[in-house]
C-alpha cells in the first residue's frame, strides 16, 4: 500500500504545483486513502506558502564586478614612469654613497653601513602587459601579473627553537610541540612550485614538552570592515628567514571561521594552494571589553599531500567583518614560531604587499614581533584591521 501511495506523490505535487489533472487511478486512490488525501491537503498548503513567499529581491548587475575579476588590468603609464624615476633616484643615491666610501674619500670620515643585498627589498615586477584579447586564438594561457615585496629583517634564532601550537587563553594543554626544520629560503623570483615545496610542514614532533600556551589579544581590533580584496596570504616565519606564500589563487575554503569566532572553539577550515591543502584550526579570541573581535589564534594543523604529520605551527588569523574566509575575502595568516622562555627573545618586523591578481587590489600586511608579542596590521582600500597576540608559556600544568 505504501509503495502505491508513493507512486502518486509526483502526481499530487504536480497537481498542486502546476495545476495538472490528477490521473484517474490517482484520483480513485486518493478518495480511498486517508494518507494520500492528507498528503494532497498538505502539499496544497505548502505549495501555496512556498510560491507566495518566494520573494526574490532585484538581482544586482554583477557584470562590472565579474569583469574586474576576469579581465586584464591596464597598467598606468604614469605609475610606470613614477617607478622608473624612483629607481633612477635610488640608483643615483646608491652610486653617490659608494663613491663617497671609495678609496679617494677623506681619511677619518666615518664609514656608513651598507645594507646587505639579501636584506634589501626586492620586487617581482609585473609581467609585461598584454591585452587579454591578444591571447585569443593563440593557444597561450593568460597569466596575470604578480608582485611580491620581500623584506628580510629577521635575525637568526637558535636552532633548538621550539614550535608550539597556540590555544586561545588558558585552558588546553598542547601536547605536540614539533621541532622545526630549517626551511629553504624563498627567493623573490620563486615560482609557485618552489614556493609550495618550501612551505612544507614541520616534520617531527615531541610530546615530552607539555607547556601550556596561551594567547590573548592585547588590543581590540578596530572596526572590522573590509580592507580590500587581499585574497589570502599565508606567512610562515622560519629560523633566519621569513617566507610568504600568497594563497589567493582561487583558494577554496571549506569550513568557516568568522562568525564562529565569538562562541565556537576549535573551528577548522581548509584552504588549498597549488596541490596542497592547508588545514587550520582556529580558536576564538574575542575582546572582552568591547565584545567585538575577529582576531583569533590559528594552528596550522595539517598540510596534506606533502606529509601526513601535523605541522603544529601556530599563528594569528586576521580577517575582516563577519564573513567567512572564502575567495577574495581579505585574510592574512601569520604563522609565528614561539620561542621557549630560555631562548633569546626574537624581534623582527616585515611587511609585504599582497597583490591580488584577480581584483588588481593591493593590501599591505605589516608584521611586528617583539619577543612573544606579535602585531599584525592589514591595510587595504578601506578601513585597516589591526590586532596583536601575546604568547605566554606556563610550564607543565
Amino acid at each position: 500500500m505504501r509503495n502505491r501511495c508513493e507512486a502518486f506523490e509526483d502526481a499530487i505535487w504536480d497537481r498542486v504545483r502546476f495545476g495538472t489533472d490528477l490521473p484517474a487511478d490517482a484520483r480513485a486512490h486518493i478518495n480511498q486513502c486517508a494518507d494520500c488525501a492528507r498528503a494532497l491537503n498538505e502539499a496544497r498548503q505548502l505549495a501555496g506558502v512556498m510560491l507566495q513567499g518566494d520573494c526574490v529581491p532585484p538581482a544586482p548587475d554583477c557584470r562590472s564586478a565579474v569583469m574586474a575579476r576576469i579581465a586584464p588590468r591596464q597598467r598606468q603609464p604614469r605609475l610606470t614612469w613614477a617607478y622608473a624615476c624612483a629607481g633612477l633616484a635610488i640608483a643615483s643615491l646608491a652610486i653617490g654613497a659608494i663613491m663617497s666610501l671609495g678609496p679617494g674619500h677623506e681619511p677619518g670620515r666615518q664609514n656608513v653601513a651598507v645594507m646587505p643585498q639579501s636584506a634589501q627589498p626586492k620586487l617581482i615586477g609585473p609581467a609585461p602587459h598584454r591585452d587579454v584579447h591578444s591571447y585569443a586564438n593563440t593557444g597561450e594561457r593568460y597569466n596575470p601579473p604578480t608582485r611580491m615585496v620581500k623584506h628580510r629583517v629577521m635575525p637568526k634564532t637558535p636552532e633548538n627553537i621550539m614550535v608550539a601550537s597556540v590555544v586561545n587563553g588558558p585552558g588546553d594543554v598542547v601536547g605536540n610541540i614539533p621541532v622545526p626544520e630549517i626551511r629553504a629560503e624563498i627567493a623573490p623570483d620563486t615560482t609557485e612550485e618552489k614556493l609550495s615545496a618550501a612551505t612544507r610542514p614541520v616534520a617531527s614532533t615531541s610530546a615530552a614538552l607539555a607547556d601550556k600556551y596561551a594567547a590573548s589579544t592585547s588590543a581590540a581590533p578596530t572596526a572590522p570592515a573590509p580592507v580590500g580584496m587581499a585574497g589570502t596570504a599565508l606567512s610562515a616565519v622560519g629560523d633566519d628567514t621569513d617566507t610568504r606564500a600568497r594563497m589567493d589563487d582561487s583558494p577554496r575554503m571549506t569550513g568557516s571561521v568568522n562568525g564562529a569566532l565569538a562562541t565556537t572553539p576549535n573551528v577548522t577550515y581548509d584552504s588549498t594552494y597549488n596541490a596542497d591543502v592547508f588545514t587550520f584550526s582556529v580558536a576564538p579570541n574575542r575582546d572582552t571589553a568591547t565584545g567585538k573581535g575577529d582576531v583569533g589564534s590559528v594552528v596550522l594543523a595539517e598540510k596534506r599531500r606533502v606529509a601526513t604529520k601535523p605541522a603544529g605551527e601556530s599563528g594569528l588569523f586576521w580577517t575582516a567583518g563577519r564573513r567567512a574566509p572564502a575567495d577574495d575575502r581579505p585574510v592574512a595568516i601569520v604563522i609565528a614560531r614561539w620561542t621557549p622562555p630560555e631562548a633569546r627573545p626574537v624581534s623582527y618586523g616585515y611587511d609585504y604587499t599582497d597583490y591580488d591578481t584577480v581584483t588588481g587590489r593591493t593590501t599591505t600586511v605589516s608584521v611586528k614581533r617583539s619577543g612573544n608579542h606579535v602585531e599584525v596590521r592589514l591595510e587595504g582600500k578601506d578601513s585597516p584591521v589591526k590586532g596583536s597576540v601575546d604568547h605566554a608559556t606556563i610550564p607543565n600544568v
Binding site: 498538505e42 577550515y269 567567512a324
Partner: protein, 183 residues
C-alpha cells in the same frame, strides 16, 4: 541582430569578453534568483552570482555546446551554494527568526505573508533541512523545473533526482505539519 546563446558561447570560448558580458546580462538574474532561493540571503546570493560567472569564464573552454548554457550555469551556482551551506555548518548563524523579520521589511509586496507564522516557519524549516534536499525543493517546487533538467544541474540521474525530491517533500511535510491545517 541579437546573437543566440550558442553564438555567444562560441565567441566567449575564443576569449571574447564582450560576448561573455552579453551572456552574463542574459543569465545573471536567474542565477541570482536561484542562489537567493537556496541561501535566503541577498549578499550571499550576490557573491554566488559573481562567483558563478567567474568560474564559468575560467572553464568555458570546457563547456560542451550540446548542453544548455543556463543548465550549466545553474549547476555551477548550485555547487557553490552547496559548498557555502556546508561551510555554514561550522558557523553560528544569525537566528533565523531575526532573518525572517529582516526580510519581511524588504519592499517585496508580500510582507504581510512573511509575517505570518506559517511563512516564517517555512523559512526556518527550509533553512534547516539539508542543502541537497533544499536544492531539490527550490528547483522543482519553486522554480518548476523538469526532473530531467534538475538531474543535469545536480549531476545525478533523473531517478535519483525524483527519489531525492520525494524525500525532500516528506521532510518538509513532516517538519511543517504543526503549522498546517487539517481538512
Amino acid at each position: 541582430m541579437a546573437k543566440s546563446d550558442a553564438d555567444l558561447v562560441e565567441l566567449a570560448q575564443s576569449g571574447n569578453l564582450r560576448a561573455f558580458d552579453e551572456l552574463m546580462s542574459i543569465h545573471q538574474e536567474r542565477v541570482y534568483a536561484l542562489a537567493y532561493r537556496m541561501l535566503s540571503n541577498p549578499e550571499d546570493a550576490s557573491d554566488v552570482q559573481q562567483e558563478t560567472f567567474v568560474r564559468a569564464w575560467k572553464s568555458i573552454g570546457r563547456f560542451r555546446r550540446d548542453a544548455e548554457l543556463s543548465t550549466w550555469l545553474h549547476r555551477i551556482a548550485v555547487n557553490i551554494c552547496l559548498s557555502m551551506k556546508k561551510r555554514r555548518e561550522f558557523t553560528v548563524s544569525e537566528p533565523l527568526f531575526e532573518d525572517s523579520i529582516r526580510l519581511s521589511h524588504e519592499p517585496c509586496g508580500v510582507a504581510t505573508l512573511e509575517a505570518t507564522e506559517t511563512a516564517m516557519a517555512l523559512r526556518n524549516v527550509m533553512a534547516a533541512i539539508p542543502a541537497h534536499y533544499r536544492a531539490l525543493l527550490v528547483l522543482r517546487e519553486i522554480e518548476g523545473r523538469r526532473f530531467e533538467e534538475i538531474a543535469r544541474i545536480l549531476g545525478c540521474s533523473e531517478q535519483s533526482a525524483r527519489t531525492r525530491a520525494s524525500k525532500a517533500r516528506k521532510l518538509l511535510r513532516d517538519r511543517m505539519r504543526p503549522y498546517l491545517e487539517e481538512e
